[in-house]
Amino acid sequence: MTISTEVVEPVVDSRSARQVARDTRRHEAMARKRLTSKGATIAAIVIAFFWTIPTFGLFITSFRPGSDTQSSGWWTVFVDPAFTLDNYRQALTSGGTALTLGASFLNSLAITIPVVVFALAVASLIAYAFAWIDFKGRNFFFIFIFALQIVPLQMALVPLLSLFSRGLTINDVTIFPGLELRGIEHSFATVWIAHVIFAMPLAIFLLHNFIAEIPHEVIEAARVDGAGHGQIFFRLILPLAAPALASFAVLEFIWVWNDLLVATIFAPSSSLPLTQSLNSLSGTWGDQWFLQSAGTFISILVPLIVFFALQRFFVRGLLAGATKG
């Protein structure tokens, strides 16, 4: 009896598995039909349409010959099509003030990539301490750091700038001598430091939420095996928190890449990022829409690539801890 069922079972199972799969699919389709109305989908498409129009218009413009863009709207392209790649070539080689767009593109990379790495490492170190080391006033300090988001960036700019350039002297005693990097070509140090500082409160908050959610048993088991905090952090926390780290990396990358203010204040003129070049383009080139539009699309490219590459972590990672009620 038992032998025969053992022989038959796989066949029955595989068929029912297929049936189950088909049934589930049918149920899902029915549920989908019941729960989504046509009206909702149409409304969504309308919103998506309006949201895409502005970018689409500029996208078309970036491929139109310069003389055309000055005289007619981009929508006329549907009746009278004319395209060129020349705008992109010109945009990369001509610049706003001192830098070409191509050079400032490299600067943007050199600013953004290290900042993301620094911010993640520094924030996850202290986030681990908040989550897994018991110390006096832990809750207080954690909430205090979260509350530091209160300090608007603008409030910190001037003092931080003078700290970098002139140092700090109290009653003629030099506490910190200053970095004296203003004159150095291609020096990003001050921008890196400033960006990492401004990212800290939110990064610590989000990463802590995720790291604190890691099951207690995992950490305990490692500890029993004789691992110290250093090993636990490196071997357990970093891999387990990878989705959260990746999703914060995406956000931080987009923010730093798109930043204008911090770089304008802290970077020497040879180290200015793409956003600054684009901004000065719109000032000096006035009506040269064909160059501005091409430049804009060059600047959009990298954050979009990063987002698409890492988007599967995006939702899962950050929100697991951050939005848990």
């Binding site: 809750n139 700019l157 400033a194 500082i197 250093g230 203010l261 901004n279």
Partner: protein
């Protein structure tokens, strides 16, 4: 000498310093700098982790390791900060005292040797950054706001009075209020509606990406994109909005100069356009986390779509909603780029965060700019207090 003003004696570096490293690095090609700095940084973090790992072990060797690290780390920190000529004695003195205190405190720590040492290593990098970059500047700005343009004479509340009576200051306050009220409301509402609409719809991924895309575009890029929409000229229009107006036989409008408040509202539209994607992505994830059984139960009870949304979805995603609204509200309070790119604050479109930089960069008026920053700080305050209370509640449940 530590006590001498840096202007008099040209400081000489004591061999290697953080500064000389950054100077050397700055001379390289930007792309070459990336791997070098990341590797150096990785080595530092690795060293920290190594020390953390070995700190709490019992035994003579580890005791000496801790002791050495307690003295060497402060010395290193001082050396890196480019000490002055003749200052070796001071540096060593300070380092030895610091190291001794650190070691002693750790030795006496109730949780065992190595405990405090580990904790400090974990927390030091972030704490130093926060102290240097946020706490010290915030206090410094607060003090500055009571001094005049040059920062030498105490003027009391004059800068604040200026903020509320001068047209630039006044409009920056009014506009900031408009921004912080409208932007989060609309961005969250549209993002939420969209997330509900596309939930389980066909082509969800594509629809999501279309709305998220503007979030990945910088405010500078967004400004250029929308300047193009709002463009005004004589004759043939190339801006979409005026193209539509003239197509219906209307007169073209100079949108970004349209007062009162019309131009500010048009700037807010750009911000909403850009931030809706963030709201949508977060809320969409939250909606998917609402248990489907609750939905089905509500459906069996005969609740219609709106009732299901109000009574099941919204309570289920409440904490996500709070996160989204505060994040966007704080973003709206600190908005700088859109105003800078699109109008440069002209025609009464200025906001606090922009005017603050404007006062400082263009007019070198540090007192005014500090006062504006403090007003901005006061605006953010209630949002943070509300959030802190939410976190408190959550931590009590845990």
């Amino acid at each position: 000498m530590v006590t001498r003003a840096p202007v008099e004696t040209r400081p000489t570096t004591l061999g290697f310093s953080l500064n000389s490293f950054f100077r050397w690095l700055g001379g390289l090609n930007p792309i070459v700098q990336i791997p070098i700095i990341v590797v150096v940084f990785g080595a530092v973090v690795g060293l920290i982790l190594l020390l953390i790992e070995y700190a709490p072990r019992p035994g003579r060797g580890y005791f000496w390791l801790r002791l050495a690290a307690c003295f060497l780390l402060p010395v290193l920190a001082f050396m890196l900060l480019r000490p002055y000529q003749n200052a070796v004695i001071y540096v060593l003195g300070i380092a030895v005292i610091l190291g001794a205190v650190l070691f002693w405190a750790d030795y006496r720590s109730r949780q065992g040797a190595g405990y405090l040492f580990q904790l400090i290593l974990f927390a030091a990098p972030a704490t130093i950054l926060l102290l240097v970059g946020l706490i010290y500047p915030a206090i410094s700005t607060l003090v500055q706001s009571f001094f005049d343009k040059t920062g030498d004479n105490f003027v009391g509340l004059d800068n604040y009075i200026w903020t509320f009576t001068n047209p630039e200051g006044f409009w920056s306050v009014i506009n900031t209020l408009i921004w912080v009220l409208l932007a989060p409301t609309f961005a969250t509402a549209i993002g939420l509606a969209y997330a509900v609409f596309i939930d389980r719809a066909k082509g969800e991924r594509v629809l999501k990406i279309l709305i998220f895309m503007p979030f990945a575009i910088s405010f500078v890029g967004a400004g250029i994109i929308w300047k193009f929409i709002y463009d005004f000229r004589q004759g043939d229009q190339i801006g979409l909005l005026n193209g539509i107006v003239t197509a219906f036989g209307g007169q073209p409008v100079t949108w970004l100069a349209a007062q009162p408040l019309v131009n500010t509202l048009l700037l807010v539209v750009v911000f909403i356009w850009s931030q809706t994607g963030l709201a949508m992505v977060i809320l969409s994830a939250a909606i998917k986390a609402v248990p489907p059984e609750q939905m089905e139960a509500a459906e069996l009870d005969g609740a219609n779509a709106w009732e299901r949304f109000r009574n099941v979805t919204v309570p289920g995603i409440r904490s996500s909603l709070i996160v989204v609204v505060t994040t966007i509200a704080i973003g709206a309070l600190k908005i700088y780029d859109i105003v800078a790119v699109m109008t440069g604050g002209r025609n009464d479109t200025t906001v606090l965060a922009f005017e603050m930089v404007n006062q400082q960069q263009r007019f070198q008026s540090y007192g005014h700019s500090a006062a504006l920053a403090v007003v901005l700080f006061i605006f953010v305050l209630p949002l943070i207090i509300f959030n802190v209370r939410q976190i408190r509640k959550q931590r009590e449940i845990r």
